[in-house]
Every structure is written in structure tokens, then in C-alpha cells.
């Protein structure tokens, strides 16, 4: 059976599950779709408390594993790209698992953008102004509310995202490694300027079914998808035990093992005509990449959101590429740093990188 744009997608809600079951279901769904054993699937998923790393990440570098062990927080590896994130039962995951020809043509960046714009349109129906932000975040007023990532395997793909319905920020900062030297009240308020939740925006957390409906409406309107709700197909359930054994194997979590010391926290301060600029960053010293950066200091910049957009654009970027990215964003947003220029941001990153 070959699915086409006009075919109904099967909407499956697999409910609250441990992280390993959700990752195994992703594997089983991809296999079932590649073997044409199911129609295209739109899955809603929820997690018992978990920390998930992206496919190419190392849990040792991205997570505070001791805290996870103490607190009984499951650690798993996603099939998809992007950065580490936390899930707890308040959050909603959504994902499309389908044949490539079920979605608009184009390169992978444009496809991700179209999917994110559909999800953002859905979330906006809840009364927030959600929009796509490169690369592959959905944000409201500069604050991230959903992260996404995908896997493309031949002519099948899985693209997934989160919705932060509610968020325990201090707990998140104890689970995920962030580019902040001190995890104090100032750090929490600084991160709160960069991440938000539906509850924080709307005053109360919407019901799960309301969020699901909004997301589906967004995908209907933006991508012309049609949906029918149903149960997890037997063909997928039959593949689950084998997939579960794979993700429970230590080899799966051990892919891309790298030492925590190979991604140190680096810090530098630059006194520039426009003020003082500080960069704290998680630095991939072997790959010469900025993995995550947090800017702070004493300066004025317009628009204010330029700082968080810069931080988003500079995630997992080679040091040789930072100049172009920073200059591009300054031009795109007509940024006025009141004396603070693009080269000052690039310089402070280089200073931090050299702090061996």
C-alpha cells in the first residue's frame, strides 16, 4: 500500500509510557511504515519522567546522570536529531511517521519548517502567538515552547516535537547540562526568559485533548492532512518486543559515548564600545563547535529577542561558521547593539574557546 497526501492519517494516542517504550515504538512505527504495513501515523505520546538525548549526543556530556539516577529519571536516546530535553507527564509529544511523499516536496530544512509552522499554527489556536524559529524550534515571543527533530530513512520519515504544557524550570536545570556556571535564582530567571509553557502563557494548563485537537487542526489547515483516530495497529504492536530489546541494550545508549570533560563549560568577558558582553558556553573541544551558549552582560540591544535568537542560531555550530551566522542575524533583524557589533559576539566566543 502506498500512502498519498489525500489518504487519511491514523491518529494514535499511545498514552503515558516509560521512555524506552516510546523509543521502541518509534523504531517499530518506522519499520512498519517502511514495509507498508500501516497507513501514515500521527502519534501523540507522553512520558514518565525522562531525559532524552538526541541521536548523536552523549548522555555523559548532556545530562547530570547522577541526579537522574538519584531521582529515578529514565535516560534514553532518541532516534531523531537535536538536543537533550526533559519529559514529564505534563508534557505532550507529537510525531508524524510517514512516507516521504505524504508531505510537501523540498529539501529537509524546508520540510522541517513546514511541519513546525503547522504545529505552531495549531498551538496558536490555543491563544498564544506561536511561530517557527530556525533551527526547528517553535517559540512564543522569543521563548521556546516546543523543540523538534527528525529522522529520514530512505522514503520514510519520523518527525517529532514536544509541547511544554507545564514546566518545572529548577528541576529541568538540575537534569540538563546548561551553559551556566551557577544554578541560582538568577540562572532560573535567565532561563525563564528563554523557555516557556502553555500554563505560564495562559494562566492555566489546557486539557491534553484540547492541545491534541489544536495541533491536528494546525496540520489540517497548513498541510491539508486528514485524520482518523484509531488504535495502535497490530502490525506495530507485533514489532514492539524486538524494538524494546534494542533500546534497552546498553549498546543503544552507548552510541557516541564521549567524556564529559571533552565538552567543558567555557566563559569569557569582552569590554566593547557598547558595553560588557559575557559568553558562557558548552564547548566541543574536539569538534571546535559551540554546543550551547548563553550571553549576558551590561549592554543594550534592539530588538531584545536578538540575544535569544542568536543563542538558538549558534547551537551546535563550528567556530569557523559563527561570524556568518551572527552577521546574518544582525542583518535579518536590523539589530542595533548601540556600539555592540557582530564581531564582538564572534570575538567573545573565540575568547571563550581559547580558555583552555
Amino acid at each position: 500500500m502506498t500512502a498519498h497526501v489525500s489518504d487519511d492519517w491514523l491518529v494514535v494516542d499511545t498514552g503515558l509510557r516509560p521512555a524506552d517504550e516510546n523509543m521502541a515504538l518509534d523504531k517499530a512505527l518506522l519499520l512498519a511504515i517502511s514495509e507498508s504495513r500501516t497507513p501514515n501515523i500521527f502519534r501523540f505520546l507522553r512520558f514518565e519522567e525522562s531525559a532524552l538525548v538526541g541521536y548523536h549526543q552523549s548522555p555523559e556530556q548532556e545530562l547530570n546522570l547522577e541526579f537522574c539516577r538519584e531521582q529515578g529519571i529514565a535516560v534514553q536516546r532518541r532516534l531523531t536529531g537535536g538536543g537533550a530535553l526533559i519529559f514529564d507527564p505534563t508534557q505532550i509529544g507529537w510525531e508524524l511517521v510517514c512516507r516521504r511523499d505524504a508531505l510537501p516536496q523540498g529539501d529537509m530544512a524546508s520540510l522541517a519548517r513546514k511541519i513546525c509552522e503547522a504545529a505552531a499554527a495549531g498551538l496558536s489556536l490555543l491563544g498564544v502567538r506561536a511561530q517557527f524559529r530556525p533551527r526547528n524550534d517553535i517559540e512564543v515571543g522569543g521563548r521556546k515552547i516546543s523543540g523538534t527533530g527528525g529522522i529520514m530513512d530512505g522514503d520514510v520519515l519520523l518527525f517529532q516535537g514536544t509541547v511544554l504544557v507545564d514546566l518545572d524550570l529548577p528541576r529541568m536545570l538540575r537534569i540538563l547540562r546548561v551553559p551556566l556556571e551557577k544554578l541560582d535564582a538568577h540562572a532560573v530567571s535567565s532561563v525563564a526568559e528563554r523557555v516557556t509553557s502553555l500554563k505560564a502563557l495562559l494562566g492555566k494548563a489546557p486539557e491534553l485533548m484540547v492541545v491534541q485537537k489544536a495541533l491536528l487542526d494546525g496540520f489540517r489547515a497548513q498541510l491539508g492532512l486528514s485524520f482518523v483516530r484509531g488504535d495502535l495497529p497490530d502490525a506495530v504492536a507485533a514489532l514492539l518486543p524486538e524494538a524494546l530489546a534494542k533500546v534497552r541494550d546498553a549498546e543503544w545508549l552507548g552510541i557516541n559515548h564521549r567524556a564529559r570533560d571533552d565538552m567543558p563549560l567555557r566563559k569569557a568577558t569582552l569590554r566593547a564600545p557598547g558595553g560588557t558582553l559575557q559568553a558562557e558556553m558548552l564547548w566541543d573541544k574536539h569538534g571546535n563547535r559551540v554546543r550551547q551558549v548563553h550571553f549576558s552582560g551590561d549592554y543594550f540591544i534592539q530588538p531584545q529577542r536578538a540575544i535569544v535568537d542568536l543563542e538558538a542560531a549558534l547551537r551546535n555550530v563550528h567556530l569557523n561558521d559563527v561570524d556568518g551566522i551572527i552577521a546574518g542575524l544582525f542583518e535579518e533583524q536590523a539589530v542595533d547593539g548601540f556600539g555592540l557589533q557582530p564581531e564582538h559576539f564572534a570575538t567573545v566566543l573565540r575568547m571563550a574557546a581559547q580558555d583552555a
Partner: protein
């Protein structure tokens, strides 16, 4: 050097067009494989590379390495069965090399093929491959590199 819609497609290499990968037979009997410039254009800037380790047996059309671009993960499927001889240390340090030089320093893996004569008979080369990529790009709705 052949070109299809602005994408360089060297005609002296062997290709699995569906999987968007190239293969070069080396004088010592080994093979080198990599991503085509078309695959690079679809993927965008590659930021991560995880190869299968030396000594690992890879079946034809199964993953020899995984790459990531713009939060998308994708396997590079080996056009032939074989055993991994080596992965690319330079690409491990700078995955962007794949985009910069996909047929040269951005190679993905070197393998000792298990049945080169059998597996390679299905691969395309020369003028045929340019026609095949043109057809693929039409099917994919691809504008050009």
C-alpha cells in the same frame, strides 16, 4: 565532471541513485563510499557524523554511518556488502567537510567488499547516472544545487 541541475555528479564513480550514495573502487580492491552533492543539498549543513566501527560487517543497502543536519538524522546506506576498513577522522572532527568536498576529503567510509562483482552490477555509472539523477530530481521536486 557531470552536472545535473547544478549538482556535480562525477561520471567515473558508481552510484545507488535511490539511496543517493556513490562508490569508488580502489586499486587495492577496497571501496570508498560517500554522499552525493545532491544528497548534501537536500540535507543542508551536516553537523554530526557517526560511522560504524572498523571491522563491522555491513549488508548492502544498510547503514554504514549516520549523519545529522538541521536536527534531521539520516543513514548513509552502503551500496555493497562488506567489512568496514576505516571511517573518516577528518569528517569526525569537522562533519561540514562532507558538504565542502563530498567526493574527496568528505568521504564517509572505506570497506572491503564481500561480493563486489555481484553487488556492483546494480549500480549506475557514466551517462546513465546523469539521466537517473535527473529523473530522481523530477520525482523529488528538486529545484537544483
Amino acid at each position: 565532471m557531470g552536472t545535473v541541475r547544478g549538482c556535480e555528479i562525477p561520471e567515473d564513480l558508481l552510484y545507488n541513485v535511490d539511496n543517493n550514495v556513490w562508490l569508488r573502487k580502489e586499486d587495492d580492491g577496497s571501496v570508498t563510499i560517500g554522499m552525493t552533492s545532491y544528497a548534501c543539498a537536500l540535507a543542508g549543513q551536516i553537523v554530526s557524523y557517526t560511522p560504524k566501527g572498523a571491522g563491522k560487517d555491513i549488508k548492502k543497502d544498510k547503514s554504514a554511518a549516520t549523519v545529522e543536519s538541521g536536527k534531521w538524522v539520516g543513514p548513509l546506506k552502503s551500496p555493497v556488502s562488506g567489512t568496514v576498513l576505516s571511517s573518516n577522522e577528518d569528517v569526525a572532527k569537522d562533519p561540514g567537510l562532507i558538504n565542502k568536498d563530498p567526493y574527496g576529503s568528505g568521504w564517509i567510509a572505506k570497506l572491503t567488499p564481500a561480493d563486489f562483482a555481484g553487488d556492483s552490477s546494480e549500480l549506475k555509472t557514466g551517462a546513465d547516472v546523469l539521466v537517473a539523477f535527473e529523473e530522481k530530481m523530477t520525482t523529488d521536486g528538486f529545484g537544483g544545487c
